[in-house]
């Protein structure tokens, strides 16, 4: 399984300083744009906010997995921000959020295996004991390895 295809170091920021949800999403979208994963941050964020309006993307344990599907997405991707300070976010357990994984899903020409990788990452993030693991990771390499090494059925 080649997780590196969707989870690339260029789209990971372990020291993000952001005041609110808007800032986090905008910063992460910028990373995706720089990495040529999307063609427009405006278009992409429109899709993300559309999804945000439907149901909470905070899945508990200080983790949020906002996501958007759009034709402006060139590469199936995950962008990750570890925030210096937790921020408010609509979540299942009413907790704030410190770990944000922004998923980008292409509208067309999707690669099923890559889509499965995104689901794999989301499922790992929803495990009860994930927070203890996430907190310990200090390098981009360690973050990617966590998701490679975790086995789901």
């Amino acid at each position: 399984m080649d997780l590196n295809e969707v989870f690339r170091p260029a789209c990971i920021d372990l020291e993000m300083d952001a005041k609110n949800k808007e800032e986090v999403l905008s910063n992460l979208a910028d990373l995706l744009l720089k990495d040529k994963a999307i063609t427009s941050t405006k278009e992409y964020l429109k899709a993300v906010y559309k999804r945000e309006a439907e149901a909470p993307t905070g899945i508990g344990n200080l983790i949020a997995i906002p996501h958007g599907k759009s034709s402006c997405i060139l590469k199936t991707s995950v962008a990750y921000a570890r925030l210096k300070k937790s921020i408010e976010w609509e979540s299942c357990d009413n907790s704030p959020v410190k770990y944000v994984f922004l998923l980008a899903v292409p509208e067309e020409n999707r690669n099923v295996n890559q889509i499965k990788l995104l689901s794999h990452i989301a499922r790992i993030l929803a495990q009860d004991d994930i927070l203890g693991k996430l907190e310990k990771l200090n390098t981009v390499k360690e973050v990617i390895e966590l998701f490679i090494n975790e086995n789901l059925d």
Binding site: R51, E54, A55, P56, I59, G60, I65, H67, G68, K69, C92, D93, L103, V105, R110, V112, I115, K116, L118, S119, A122, R123, A126, Q127, L152
Partner: protein, 108 residues
């Protein structure tokens, strides 16, 4: 109690699968037999068979969209909830269903 279910969400990439995992794990804890079909972006996985549905006491539909092939569950006891309910309190959901079924007694 035997439970079957379907999970689905608008993008079909995250919540669909998280809800499935949460329900299956909670069922395991409560000693409830449980099979969940996912209707996601990449299509149907772990598809429920006619037999699965026939033997189930209850069908849980945890979805934010209209699921496909709902007609399969005609005549069954159906519990419909938003995906977030299955993610937030899967054990509570199953316990509540179990209690209702016990109160009503026996098959649907």
């Amino acid at each position: 109690m035997k439970v079957v279910g379907v999970t689905a969400c608008t993008i079909g990439i995250a919540h669909t699968y998280i809800a499935k995992d949460k329900l299956v794990n909670a069922a395991k804890k409560l000693n409830i037999e449980c099979k969940i079909e996912t209707q996601g972006n990449i299509g149907v996985q772990n598809e429920l068979t006619e037999e699965d549905i026939k033997n189930a006491d209850v069908v849980i539909i945890a979805s934010d969209i209209n699921i496909s092939r709902r007609e399969r569950f005609k005549g069954k006891r159906i519990v419909q909830v938003p995906v977030s309910t299955a993610i937030k309190s899967p054990e509570g959901l199953l316990k509540k269903i179990q209690q209702k079924i016990n109160e009503q007694g026996g098959q649907k």
